[in-house]
Symmetry: D3
Subunit: 270 residues, 6 copies
Amino acid sequence: MPEYQSLKVELNNQIAHIQLNRPEKLNAMNAAFWEEMVEVFDWVDATDEARVVIISGAGKHFSAGIDLALLSTAAGEMTRDIGRNAERIRRNVLRLQAAFNAVDNCRKPVIAAIQGYCIGGAIDLVSACDMRYATTDASFSIKEIDMGMAADVGTLQRLPHLIGDGMMRELAYTGRSFAGEEAAALGLVNRCFADADALLAGVTAIAEEIAGKSPLAIRGTKEMIRYSRDHSVEDGLNYIATWNAAMLQSEDMKIAMTAHMTRKKADFAD
Amino acid sequence: MPEYQSLKVELNNQIAHIQLNRPEKLNAMNAAFWEEMVEVFDWVDATDEARVVIISGAGKHFSAGIDLALLSTAAGEMTRDIGRNAERIRRNVLRLQAAFNAVDNCRKPVIAAIQGYCIGGAIDLVSACDMRYATTDASFSIKEIDMGMAADVGTLQRLPHLIGDGMMRELAYTGRSFAGEEAAALGLVNRCFADADALLAGVTAIAEEIAGKSPLAIRGTKEMIRYSRDHSVEDGLNYIATWNAAMLQSEDMKIAMTAHMTRKKADFAD
Amino acid sequence: MPEYQSLKVELNNQIAHIQLNRPEKLNAMNAAFWEEMVEVFDWVDATDEARVVIISGAGKHFSAGIDLALLSTAAGEMTRDIGRNAERIRRNVLRLQAAFNAVDNCRKPVIAAIQGYCIGGAIDLVSACDMRYATTDASFSIKEIDMGMAADVGTLQRLPHLIGDGMMRELAYTGRSFAGEEAAALGLVNRCFADADALLAGVTAIAEEIAGKSPLAIRGTKEMIRYSRDHSVEDGLNYIATWNAAMLQSEDMKIAMTAHMTRKKADFAD
Amino acid sequence: MPEYQSLKVELNNQIAHIQLNRPEKLNAMNAAFWEEMVEVFDWVDATDEARVVIISGAGKHFSAGIDLALLSTAAGEMTRDIGRNAERIRRNVLRLQAAFNAVDNCRKPVIAAIQGYCIGGAIDLVSACDMRYATTDASFSIKEIDMGMAADVGTLQRLPHLIGDGMMRELAYTGRSFAGEEAAALGLVNRCFADADALLAGVTAIAEEIAGKSPLAIRGTKEMIRYSRDHSVEDGLNYIATWNAAMLQSEDMKIAMTAHMTRKKADFAD
Amino acid sequence: MPEYQSLKVELNNQIAHIQLNRPEKLNAMNAAFWEEMVEVFDWVDATDEARVVIISGAGKHFSAGIDLALLSTAAGEMTRDIGRNAERIRRNVLRLQAAFNAVDNCRKPVIAAIQGYCIGGAIDLVSACDMRYATTDASFSIKEIDMGMAADVGTLQRLPHLIGDGMMRELAYTGRSFAGEEAAALGLVNRCFADADALLAGVTAIAEEIAGKSPLAIRGTKEMIRYSRDHSVEDGLNYIATWNAAMLQSEDMKIAMTAHMTRKKADFAD
Amino acid sequence: MPEYQSLKVELNNQIAHIQLNRPEKLNAMNAAFWEEMVEVFDWVDATDEARVVIISGAGKHFSAGIDLALLSTAAGEMTRDIGRNAERIRRNVLRLQAAFNAVDNCRKPVIAAIQGYCIGGAIDLVSACDMRYATTDASFSIKEIDMGMAADVGTLQRLPHLIGDGMMRELAYTGRSFAGEEAAALGLVNRCFADADALLAGVTAIAEEIAGKSPLAIRGTKEMIRYSRDHSVEDGLNYIATWNAAMLQSEDMKIAMTAHMTRKKADFAD
């Protein structure tokens, strides 16, 4: 199991549990975090026994978003040449985005379990996950607007696929806080739980359910939903036909069929 | 009126009613079904007096999805050459998809009336319809995951346009069942009815309402909504402007205007 | 302050309030309206102190949609040559569309406050706004279908991004009326208010909230959400990285940071 | 071997030779032609021993384009309702386009051998082929402009991928004639031959060369080039990776490798 | 006939001739030019008797590109706020681009007649024209690179559709000069003429040829080629089918047919 | 300077020269090569003094393409599960593609100098470069077809942007060899040189020319041309306007302007 500064990682029952692990800093996303996210998802993707991922925050909160110290550091690196500053900033933003692209592109489903604060960059992060579940007293805010900037690590690109365009804009322009139940009504989270324990139990149950399915079928399903988000229905249909040209020859289908016929639980290879 | 093995078709009051008609098999989608769907929608498209289509299932259920016998047959056709198998599978999937593309591409609105099971391939089918209505005790499940495969005849491409991306993934990864009220809350169905009779009555009333409108205007509206799904707002605006360049010269507009002025019901040609 | 025939415009506290101002005609959209909308939004875009826009209707109603006299005029301009008529119609439709594109493309957030009728062209208009709020007794209808035509100034392109595809089609095919609460449940409006006074007060409060934010950040946020609607997540991420390459060097970020540190309200230049 | 009115079809040495076969009418494209093209390409696609297709014209000319009698017939079907006429015309054009889409979408390479006239619709046809070869005295013209119409069965969509945009427009706006050598210089044809015999011999030699390759590899290559025309480089790279996931497990690769090692000619299954 | 500072405009025989008219400044593009280009193309588009446009330069040269005084002015407007500067620059660039979009979007074909210098912004301009013809001693250079900037008014977007990608990059990276014959070999110009008189005579002959065609058919053809540049073949085919649904009902087709039958010259309405 | 097994790298006069360096194996692309290409381009991108890149082959040949030993290794890794094999193959292909994406995405221009064989994977590589120059006796072949496979590391996606679609297909279907002059006529290479020494001298001169330009302007130009390949003209224009919003505030523009005024050579920071 790899070790990280900003994250804590466990792998049990085919479920990788990644915890943002700087509770004393409200799990603010520091320099280590942005690099380690890419690394940990490389590891997840390469590790066959990890079939599903849960992301949560250690302590009372999910995350307060980007560590403001990072922004200060970036500000300090500015030179007199506006053009070269711009190039550096652009590449830095692309580098930060890569951390959450790693979540989005991970072949395995990623589930966010959200309690307490889920602020700014934390919304960018959970928007890149497959599903989100929260406690009723979770507190969300697209806080970037109050930093005097447009959010630039994914919220404005991914969140509109989760919630309606009209409320999307209200939340992004005002930065107002909203709690778990409203998040559920909006479609940002799939369900609310009474407290952090119930949340983790609920999310784990869903993860276990998914971990029991054919890993090939789960990965194909994720790829197709992700692809459909950005392509036409026609392109999507052609893609799944091409994908399944190989996958319908897999062992998993035979195992699933046999399990179905014999009414036993299917047992798939990693 | 054409005759089919797997379907029963009626045309009354400008409404074509297509019934999946193998109730003893839970209207499972067999080989005949996939071919006949293309044929019946060719007929609908070519038949001027058919202005709206209702799809329902005979008996207690809408449909249990693809007939598993079909999968066995397909498995039996595999040869030693993985490459040629892949080509055959890919073309088969494209052929099955064509059955539901025929629904999506039909110029006339298609309304699904769903009672009982709506499982696997049945969700692919209703996702290709214009609107969906259900009984409260209807039971939905994206069952393909339990066959060890990613759904490949349209659910993963079309359903994300109907329900939020987050719940989409939960349902596709877990295959869990959900009933009519949840389907309505998710946006999968527009409304729930107490039972199958109320459902059919309600759906027929909506169909009649639509059948009374200008057929040209309804077809233009469907084409535009369908087009908007896969194109930019700008492309969509240009398309309707080009489309209406001819259609605003039609008789239907004059008839509608006169009806509006005289406060009488408009009577449009087929 | 510019003067208009069909509109009344005020600018207070950095909020431009544009009123459809032909209450005796239910604010029907006449020839002057379509031209003046382009002009007033040119003015808004060019006027630095206008940071947010509210659109409302004078009198009891928001708007009954396009003035039918306009359609008669257009009908009267038809010649014997169907081809040249088609070209003229197409260009006219594109010209009308430009009025609402001006809303969509305006760099500043535009909020619709809707009471009474919001019919036909009025839905095209509010669909082009950033957010919509209504009275509970507001009455909406995609009325174009009853004019014997497919809506062609934006509803069929923009509304599907606000409400689910299934209900979209029901409303567009039937033209049925629906009130404020249903509009809120569908996602068309963000919230309902008891009456017109509460509505205006509520909308003004939101506008003031937004007007207090960094104008650069608000404009960047709007541009990104608008861009995301029609581009892939990947293209959107690249775009914000390029955009912020300059914007993260702005004064507004420093002002916001200082305000954050000193816990004072930030005061941004126009 | 199927029989056609407007076409003559032969299958030798794995090469299907389709001849436009109304030489007394300069192989003008009549009603039978447009239907039979779809049928013959269905047959080609389904016939494993047909690995490559040659299209040529019987007699002195390739084809003079659409039969003007067809246009008269279409004109005679017009009714008083401009809107319904428009719908009928639109569907007719789509139906004619289908004839050449069948060429474009055919899994097997299609080679045009062009002598004499290649006028109007004939350019639409050859633009949908994979490659084009001509006699030096072939005579091309985008003749639709002189019929008072914009070409609508593919030239304006496909030809810009073959020749530069600037010359494309000159030829489409003026309808001027150009001969084989200019066609070769522009990139419309790959090579010129001295006369019809040399042309057919040359084209047959290329077809035989292609027929000797792995059919799976040829079909994959055609699919990829066709896909690349309308998709981004990134989408194209993902598509071939998914396609080859199955195809690199085929027998053809092993056969090709063995042939390569043993320096013998590979012999692939159909 | 409208009057302009930077342009001279004539309309003869249905051909609008627009001359860049500051020969003493090598027709450098000053502030007036960028505004007047939009105006003159509005006039061309609205003027029925103008069926084709020729653009040329007064004096010995076509144009030396953007007036460097403009860049100085822009530099002088920079403030201390990098963010607001960026917004102003971005909008300025978009405004300059609009001048050449007006050429690209003009419904009528625009032909560039190029003698002498065609430098920097002048290449952006001619890239937006439909066709280009030059004298053999014309001298081209993508000069922006030597101003320390990436060309931003169209060369990098439109020129790759005219010349191959490989030579495109060589010319854009090095800014090297090339003359008429090389431009013709690359596909940038359609043909070279010996001198300016022969050029104007040749271009006028082509313009007259085009002016004699059906104006509706020419405009439809231009729209389709323009649309094809940025859309898939499938989208393009659907678009022309929809466009021609009205246009095939035009008088021009009947006139063209009659002319064809009677072997007389067709005479189309403007 | 980093060291590699399969490559030799030098950096002189701001030009990085990367040599494929296994001349005894005809520079066949082995396992090390595919990894080292990503590494060396990471290094190039991060190294400010490297402004231009030349790629060439050590010895008599550019490269004979992929090392067949790699294919054997891949074949040896196949298991009994076709589905899991497919997933492994797909990811391997994506990994190989990454090596040439690194060339395409490199911010700095990459120039290929091609002598002798340029076969199979070598064409995929040079297609990803910015420009290509060759000796007259260079020998090209899209050899993948003779391996029984469709080329999958970029040729079929990138080459159609360099050469016409018709010749593209002839070369890809037949795999026939063609030499330098034909490559130049097709647009694959920009120019031919008599021999390898002249080639290197010529390419170096072009590289030096480019290295003397503003690095920011060169990188912006490359990004725009690359972006234009896969986006609409409209999207491209918006992108450069946003990009230049920062870059027109750079020092390089001032330096270039001053150099222009004083007629001295500009000297830009790395």
